[in-house]
């Protein structure tokens, strides 16, 4: 590093290159802004990065596999390295997958990394999505990015399903058979769709090449485009941050892109790739040579799809055998309902939730500081209920394995699941909400009384008291990050003239008022209600300062303006602190 007049300049070669580029693209200001961009830090912010890097690894390893894979269903007789299948009739797709595994150096490793990366991709997407949901990071202005994420999740599932179907082995072929059965169940057009997709009867000779082009071109292209949009929007809107000292709605606190974030994220890419390489070295995945080539007559017991499809497997298994005969036509509810409704409910519910929440809370403001899950008890409870629902279906999807390993009768498990799928989420909702409100009460206790130090002091009159220490500034800032929800008028609430509030009139009004009651249940951080009676009276009460209320409730005026670092930016915190002090 040389120096002129105390100002550091890069080495000559770099200056030359920079000048060359800047003469053509004028990037000095833009790239500098990019370098200085602040990225907030929290371990959960890495979940999305895992998904991103898994996808890059999928592109790299997938390209390698495509150099050797033959997406063809032409019958061949195998005479290769894997002697146990010598002389067996199989499709060229299966034979070429055997060749990749046993006759291409590093082929098995790349296959296994590709498969592990697909599983990690989906797992990271799920975890990332849950983080976004539970911290409320999907709220305005990020609701559109949330929708893009849901589309990415759906595309990821399809991409994975089509991908693991390509080797045309017995396991994945059975998966395709199930797919055919589900498509046949679609009313009116199902039979036609199936014949068009498979090029005639199942299995036909077309499905593998068709899935191949969808898997390597169409869906990856869509995913790539949507990831680009996802990242650009994130970049443009700036990342959310976790609550903490000095973190407000109007600033972003963290480390700059260059060099910190670049170095960390680069390291993280290597870490993800390294872990996938390790898994693929020591943990075998999808050993298609053990399954054998697909034929429609054979099957192996304990067939399981990849985990991200297990949910649908569970819904199919749990379903009763309902079908309708509708004027000479068959409506296969036993297939249609489990294939479409539960997943549709989850995805549609997730997509609509930000808008339902806005409508029910009247909170149209912009949010950049994440919620602590406990501070949004209803949202957290709904999220946990959804997780419970998903998990029960996932477990039911492996009911035969559970029955086998735990020695529980198979039908018993299915019957338990049939009830648990309704009771489990309800119980999860109730418990989660109570736990959240309990944690809120604990937070208030911490604010009001501080931490127990374990030091006991004897008072002059003989009384023993434990010394409490006020919580640290940082902790205090986290506790005070809670925003009291705004209450809408209660259902049927009337003013002094006995006229119901306009917002609560009509069916939609009543529904909204009820949803608002449920969603705004909260234990105020500061308040004179005494202990133990916090919940349920957060709305409309006298506690919580009005400025806060206005800030949360005011539509279309998220934050005042860009003047950020001025002391005024922490006015909210100060306001709450003073309110707290007064209590």
């Amino acid at each position: 590093m040389s120096s002129q007049d105390g100002q550091a300049v890069p080495p000559k070669a770099l200056t030359g290159l920079g000048g060359f580029l800047d003469d053509r693209f004028r990037g000095a200001r833009g790239v500098r802004t990019f370098f200085k961009k602040i990225f907030p830090d929290h371990w959960t912010f890495l979940l999305g990065e895992i998904a991103l890097y898994s996808f890059i690894i999928l592109l790299l390893t997938g390209t390698f596999l495509a150099l050797f894979f033959k997406p063809s269903m032409t019958d061949v007789i195998y005479h290769g390295t894997y002697t146990r299948l010598d002389g067996v009739r199989m499709s060229e797709a299966y034979a070429s997958t055997l060749n990749i595994s046993f006759d291409v150096r590093g082929g098995l490793l790349m296959r296994q990394i590709h498969h592990w990366a697909a599983d990690l991709f989906m797992a990271a997407i799920f975890a990332h999505m849950l983080r976004i949901f539970f911290t409320g990071a999907y709220r305005k202005p990020r609701d559109v990015n949330w929708l893009i994420g849901i589309v990415l999740l759906t595309l990821g599932m399809l991409e994975g399903l089509f991908g693991y179907s390509l080797p045309d082995d017995l396991l994945s072929g059975t998966g395709l058979r199930i797919l055919e059965g589900v498509i046949l169940g679609i009313p009116i057009v199902g039979t036609y769709l199936s014949f068009f997709l498979f090029g005639g009867q199942f299995p036909g000779n077309d499905i593998i090449p068709r899935l191949y082009v969808i898997h390597v071109l169409l869906i990856p292209g869509l995913i790539l485009g949507l990831i680009a949009a996802h990242l650009f929007i994130m970049f443009h809107q700036k990342h959310t941050q976790m609550p903490g000292k000095g973190r407000t709605e109007k600033n972003v606190v963290g480390a700059p892109m260059y060099p910190y974030f670049m170095a960390k994220t680069g390291a993280f890419f290597f870490f993800v790739f390294g872990v996938l390489a390790l898994l693929s070295t020591v943990a075998q995945i999808n050993p298609i040579w053990l399954y054998g080539p697909y034929n429609p007559v054979s099957i192996s017991a304990g067939s399981q799809p990849d985990f991200y499809m297990g949910f649908l497997e569970g819904t199919l298994r749990i379903s009763p055998s309902w079908t309708w005969d509708l004027a000479g036509h068959t409506v296969a509810w036993n297939v249609l309902f489990p294939a479409l409704v539960p997943l549709g409910l989850l995805l549609t519910g997730a997509a609509l939730w930000p808008f339902i929440e806005r409508w029910a809370t009247g909170d149209y403001a912009e949010h950049n500081v994440n919620d602590r899950p406990r501070n949004a008890p209803t949202r957290t409870a709904i999220g946990v209920a959804a997780v419970a629902f998903y998990s029960i279906m996932l477990l039911e999807g492996a009911n035969d394995l559970i029955a086998d390993h735990l020695d529980i009768p198979l039908y018993t498990i299915t019957w338990i699941a049939r009830f648990a799928v309704f009771l489990g989420p309800a119980l999860a909702y109730f418990l989660t909400k109570r736990i959240c409100l309990g944690l809120q009460r604990k937070d208030r206790d911490l604010l009001e009384h501080g931490l127990e130090t374990g030091i006991i002091r004897q008072m002059p009159d003989g009384e023993f008291v434990e010394i409490h220490r006020p919580v640290s500034e940082e902790k205090r800032a986290v506790l005070l990050s809670k925003k009291e929800p705004v209450a809408l008028p209660a259902p049927g609430a009337a003013d002094e003239n006995d006229i119901p509030a306009p917002a609560t009139r009509g069916l939609a009004g009543k529904l909204r008022a009820t949803a608002n009651r449920v969603i705004t249940e909260s234990v105020p951080l500061t308040g004179g209600n005494g202990h133990g009676n916090g919940h349920g009276n957060g709305h409309g009460g006298s506690h919580g300062d009005e400025a806060e209320r206005a800030a949360v409730g005011a539509p279309h005026s998220p934050v005042a303006d860009g003047d950020v670092a001025a002391p005024g930016t922490v006015a909210r915190d100060n306001g709450q602190q003073s309110g707290d002090a007064g209590s």
Binding site: F202, P203, K264, P296, S298, R317
Partner: protein, 385 residues
């Protein structure tokens, strides 16, 4: 670079801006303990918006924050300098540097090892494949993880620990910008005549519909129309049943494993997956008197009954047979069929019994079909009725 050369971070923001806003690092050693944690409310407030301590810091330890002036000081960054690089101890920094270098070198060695393993370890046999996989995978793992560890230690030990703040403006445009945009938009609309020439507008919109429909038509040739394909299989009167795998015909008396289940395929179609996907059947032999209605007794031969192997749920092969209970179980979704009673459904999502194939024997005594199934096999479909 040495952090001691760069203590200009301590200077107020305006100076920093003049010097181009270069990254500056200040040693932490010798700096007073931070004001962030235990200071008076006043001092904490002062620090607000200028620097921020890391969460969960133990009171009394040195502040991990560093005054950073990379950002525009006008935006409220910069301020009194705090320590930065790990303890400011040159010896420790040197040690960290060596550790990072060690990992990077290790990564380089591993990558070279990867190339060596690729060249030196052939495949083409199962054991060699697994050895090759172990060697290549281990080298790759070490190569990547070493890079990761090296870079992480570099960031954590050698780069200053920074936390900075940047202003965040509301995402929405200002009302003036919106208004200006609306005006431009409407002016463009006026100029184009899109508004005042409805004929152009309406025909344009009308033209997009067939334009979008045309490519959909292209998909028509992806497959033949179903017709009645799904209603029939290749079974014909007199067609022999071949044992799946060995492809040999079978006489009833050769079925010497009562309680067992044998998969049979139609003679002449044993390699035709499209037909096998509908026509595969299972044979089960019972003790006399075990078979009950609704099994069609006329379609059985010496207490041997043939059912479709294709599950009526979504088409998996029903391959599991429980001898003691005579239950046929589909391994996919556990639909369970009662074998001696016409394969009626006793559990699971399957809506119908497995169709029964009419059996008889031919002149040579081999098992043959007496005709096709009398109903469509396999999963429900709309036209099934």
């Amino acid at each position: 670079m040495s952090e001691n050369d760069q203590t200009s971070a301590d200077q107020p923001g305006e100076d920093e801006r003049a010097s181009g806003g270069a990254t500056e690092a200040a040693g932490r050693a010798g700096e007073p303990a931070g004001t962030a944690a235990a200071g008076s409310p006043g001092s904490a407030e002062e620090a607000e918006g200028q620097e921020h301590s890391r969460p969960h810091r133990v009171i009394g330890t040195p502040s991990p924050t560093a005054a950073r002036t990379l950002l525009d000081p006008a935006a409220g960054n910069g301020g009194p300098g705090q320590g930065a690089i790990e303890s400011g101890d040159p010896a420790r920094a040197k040690r960290a540097e060596r550790i990072v270098a060690f990992f990077f070198l290790l990564s380089a060695l591993a990558s070279i090892g990867f190339i060596a393993a690729y060249i030196g370890m052939p495949v083409h046999s199962m054991s060699r494949v697994f050895h090759s996989n172990l060697a290549l995978g281990s080298a790759m793992t070490v190569g990547f993880l070493s890079m990761a560890f090296g870079a992480v230690i570099w960031v954590r030990r050698l780069m200053p620990d920074v936390e900075m703040s940047e202003p965040r403006k509301p995402v929405a445009s200002t009302p003036e910008d919106r208004q200006a945009f609306q005006q431009t938009f409407m002016e463009g609309g006026e100029d184009s005549g899109f508004i005042k020439r409805p004929l152009v507008r309406r025909t344009l919109i009308a033209a997009t519909v067939p334009l979008a429909l045309a490519p959909v038509v292209l998909l028509r040739d992806m497959g033949p129309l179903p017709g009645t394909t799904l209603r029939h299989t290749v079974w014909r009167k007199g067609m022999r049943l071949l044992v799946f795998g060995s492809n040999r015909p079978m006489k009833p008396e050769e079925f010497d494993s009562p309680g067992g289940l044998i998969t049979m395929v139609p003679d002449g179609y044993q390699d035709n997956d499209d037909e096998l996907a509908k026509a595969a059947v299972i044979l089960i032999k019972f003790e006399p008197g075990q078979l009950q209605p609704p099994t069609v007794m006329d379609w059985t031969v010496q207490n041997i009954v043939a059912y479709s192997k294709i599950c009526t749920h979504v088409g998996c092969p029903v391959a599991l047979y429980e001898q003691t209970t005579h239950h046929i179980l589909c391994p996919c979704h556990q639909s369970t069929f009662n074998a001696p009673r016409g394969a009626t459904v006793i559990f699971g999502p399957a809506p119908r019994p497995l169709p029964q194939l009419p059996l008889t024997t031919d002149a040579e005594g081999y098992l043959v079909a007496a005709g096709d199934f009398t109903e469509p096999v396999g999963p429900s479909f709309w036209e099934r009725g």
